[in-house]
């Protein structure tokens, strides 16, 4: 065994192994970083650099009073925010409006800026844009918000929704009932989960903040007008504060539902409601999807080329003979080279996946469970071993370096690139009706002919897909072990007994 261990150690500490491991790690981290950051919104400013302006307009003697409250993505007040706004009236159609006054100002240290507009008109509309200097970057809050004020006493705001300035979709259907209440989901400074809501009572100037009872629940839909607190869970009572951030407790039942926060007066009448869709971040899914495309290429290439450089090239060129004449057997030389490849795959993959997990954790706040981590790791590990074993096997029959690498590349295209499509098309060619329950197992079985299917099968299993078509832990283990063991053992037996 000393000869085996010696060659194993020497191969593992060789330049090629180190380069291969470093390359795989760097590529994986790079791909994870690019994929995660690209998947973020193009203007993914941190919440601290996002501004929302919450306008309030109400009639006063001789005109209107307008108070804008600016908050960032955490719901914290934004001081020194330039707000450019105007009051206008419609001239019969929404496309024709007359600007009545332009109002420009900057928020104070508490995030407020106020304007007065003197008029005897009974209806005005208000619109604004806000510019916020965040460090050296000017952040433009694009949350234009048209308001409509009527009846001279109570203002009603009409809006289809309140939108994130980063264009990420509606974050809340806000309701500014006559109580002038905003309920807006905001980011948490301590958690990636959407647990925080800003409750801002605008209210007419000098109006005392009423007692507000906050409730929450998780639902598949939202209906503001019909909502009562009868089917909601009490969270807390707010008294005497204009702006408060509440944190909603989340549990697994909230997954894939709307998190609703309702604010009710002391007599339980609805004052306002906000909501945010919530889905638990499945980092296993994120990572498998993130790795699927690049690893579809990288892992087979890793297996093929490591086998070629560790063994096939030396065997075909005759270099291996200069080693075989030493005190070492052919079998042990094969085993040391193959084991070195296997160990380097494992090291490269475990470090790569660890770093990818960290990258995903950084951006999503969710890390892989150890079970998911090792199932993903082992599925790619088995794939790399399988491709490596195939090349070792080919090397027992093919004596030319060029032919070996040519066959390797051919197999890469066949098994790694096209086999998935072939396995899907073959049943059509054979006129198999895949709509019949269980018929898809043919596709699964055909797909299993390629080692590249092992990670895909693992993904199916993790997501509970095709479980009725043969995807199970048992079948995954069977396919993985067959691919990892059979080519390797076959080539080992041939290597120790053939010239």
């Amino acid at each position: 065994m000393r000869d085996f261990l010696y060659d194993l150690k020497r191969t593992l500490t060789g330049k090629f192994t180190i380069i291969m491991i470093v390359l795989v790690i760097l590529l994986s981290i790079g791909m994870a970083y690019v994929t995660v950051t690209v998947s973020q919104s193009p203007s993914s400013a941190p919440p601290s650099a996002v501004s929302h302006v919450l306008p309030d307009i109400y009639p006063v003697k001789g005109g209107y009073k307008i108070v804008d409250y600016a908050v960032n993505g955490y719901g914290q007040p934004v001081p020194h925010l330039a707000v450019s706004s105007y009051v206008f009236s419609f001239n019969g159609s929404s496309s024709s409006k007359t600007v009545l006054a332009r109002l420009n100002g900057t928020t104070d240290s508490s995030g407020f800026v106020s304007f007065s507009y003197n008029t005897d008109m009974r209806e005005v509309n208000y619109s604004y844009s806000a510019y916020y200097q965040y460090g050296s970057v000017t952040v433009n809050s694009t949350a234009f918000f048209d308001t409509y004020h009527s009846n001279g006493k109570n203002a009603t705001f009409f809006s289809s929704g309140f939108y994130h300035s980063n264009g990420g979709g509606p974050i809340s259907n806000i309701s500014l009932l006559p109580d002038y209440l905003y309920v807006i989901p905001v980011s948490s400074t301590t958690s990636k989960e959407p647990t925080n809501f800003l409750i801002y009572y605008a209210g007419p100037n000098s109006t005392a903040v009423p007692t507000m009872k906050v409730y929450f629940n998780y639902t598949n839909y939202i209906s503001i007008s019909a909502e009562t607190n009868s089917n909601m869970t009490y969270l807390k009572t707010i008294t005497g504060r204009n702006a408060t951030i509440v944190t909603v407790p989340l549990n697994s039942s909230a997954n894939n539902k709307d998190i609703n926060v309702g604010v009710f007066a002391s007599n339980d009448s609805a004052m306002g409601m906000g909501f945010i869709p919530y889905s638990v971040i499945n980092s296993a899914l994120v990572i498998t999807e993130l790795l699927q495309l690049p690893y579809e290429f990288l892992i087979p290439i890793l297996g093929i080329f490591s086998a070629y450089f560790y063994y096939s090239k030396d065997k075909a060129s005759g270099v291996l003979e200069s080693i075989i004449v030493r005190p070492v057997t052919k079998g042990r030389l094969f085993a040391s080279r193959f084991t070195a490849g296997v160990i380097s795959f494992f090291v490269a993959l475990i470090i790569s996946l660890g770093f990818v997990d960290l990258v995903v954790l950084h951006y999503t706040g969710s890390a892989l469970s150890s079970g998911s981590f090792f199932s993903i790791l082992l599925s790619y590990f088995a794939t790399a071993i399988a491709y490596s074993g195939i090349i070792y096997l080919i090397s027992q029959f093919v004596k030319s370096q060029g032919a070996i690498i040519g066959i390797g590349i051919g197999l890469f295209f066949l098994l790694a690139i096209f086999w998935g499509d072939i396995a899907f098309l073959l049943p059509f060619v054979l006129r198999v009706n895949l709509a019949v329950p269980g018929a898809y197992s043919i596709v699964i079985a055909l797909s299993s002919i390629s080692p590249s299917f092992i990670p895909t099968m693992n993904t199916y299993l993790m997501n509970g897909l095709y479980t009725g078509d043969g995807v199970s832990l048992g079948s995954l283990l069977f396919v993985g072990l067959v691919w990892a063991i059979i080519p390797a053992v076959a080539s080992f037996l041939l290597a120790r007994s053939r010239d």
Binding site: D7, V319, R326, S497, D499
Partner: protein, 305 residues
């Protein structure tokens, strides 16, 4: 000591065996030359003896260890120098020799000093930083010898090692083999250059079409094959040839007559001399000669037939 017993090697079922039932011992302190035409089975025999390929049947043992069943123990005492050394092309001399040394259990520091000693001995120390692919064929061959000696084996197998060497290289190789023999090593040397085998070998094994057909002892080299008589006659005329015909087949080249296929014993050449002298011819010289190794070899293996 290398013992080859009833060795047969077939590459393909439907083709003749490359080596058939070959038995040969190479003793310690002995150089055995291995002669044969191309494709005779020399390299196959050596590759089996080194454990590179497996025998179809028969056995090769190195110092009593079977090269197949006890490969690791047997290989510790084998030094193989191929005709065309093939090493890791991007490798460098010292690290590669140290790598090989590791298989023999030589420590890294001992391997380093041993590598330096051998590379200096074979005049490639100055090229140690070059990649092996940049070595000339002669340098590669010298490196191969250094690599073969790295584990200080007791048995050496040289496969056409003299091919492609310049005269100085041939001389150095000859001296190396003699020194190895003098150090008690067994040396098995295959070569096309029969004169070199004659120069260094204690025995010469001749192989033809995979079969060992003759082993010639060194003492036999001087009187190989059939004898003939060479006579130098002063001012010969046409009668001389007819006078010599009763003694064998006569060939004439100027004043020199060669009598082959002698009908008398070689030591009875004085009778020819008496015949010529009695007929008043002046015999300047007469000697009994034997075929050279090359003629003997070619006759033996039936080359060209």
């Amino acid at each position: 000591m290398i013992q080859i017993s009833s060795l047969t090697k077939s590459y393909k079922k439907n083709q003749p065996s490359a080596v058939k039932n070959l038995s040969l011992d190479i003793d310690d302190s002995e150089i055995v030359g291995f002669a044969g035409l191309n494709g005779a089975g020399k390299t196959t025999t050596i590759r089996v003896a080194c454990g590179i390929i497996f025998p179809s049947s028969g056995r090769v043992s190195i110092d009593g260890k079977d090269i197949v069943k006890e490969k690791v123990q047997a290989s510790k005492n084998i030094g193989w120098v191929p005709e065309l050394p093939n090493f890791e092309p991007n490798g460098r001399a010292v690290p590669l020799l140290k790598y090989y040394a590791g298989f023999y259990g030589i420590s890294s520091s001992d391997a380093e000093s041993r590598a330096e000693e051998l590379l200096k001995k074979f005049s490639i120390w100055d090229s140690r930083k070059k990649k092996l692919k940049d070595y000339s064929q002669g340098m590669k061959k010298r490196f191969a010898i250094a690599a073969a000696m790295m584990g200080d084996p007791k048995n050496f197998l040289f496969d056409e090692t003299l091919n492609g060497l310049d005269p100085e290289g041939v001389r150095d190789m000859r001296n190396l083999m003699v020194n190895l023999r003098n150090d008690g090593k067994a040396v098995f040397l295959s070569s096309h250059i029969l004169s070199e085998l004659e120069n260094v070998a204690d025995r010469i094994a001749i192989i033809s079409r995979g079969e060992l057909i003759k082993v010639i002892e060194r003492s036999e080299l001087s009187n190989l094959g059939s004898s003939f008589i060479e006579i130098n006659v002063q001012n010969p005329d046409d009668k001389v040839e007819s006078m010599l015909e009763p003694y064998g087949k006569v060939e004439r080249s100027g004043n020199i007559y060669y009598i082959r296929n002698l009908k008398i014993n070689a030591n009875e050449g004085y009778k020819i001399n008496q015949t010529l002298v009695s007929s008043k011819y002046n015999v300047i010289s007469m000697s009994v000669k034997y075929e050279g190794l090359e003629d003997y070899f070619l006759n033996l293996v039936g080359a060209g037939k």
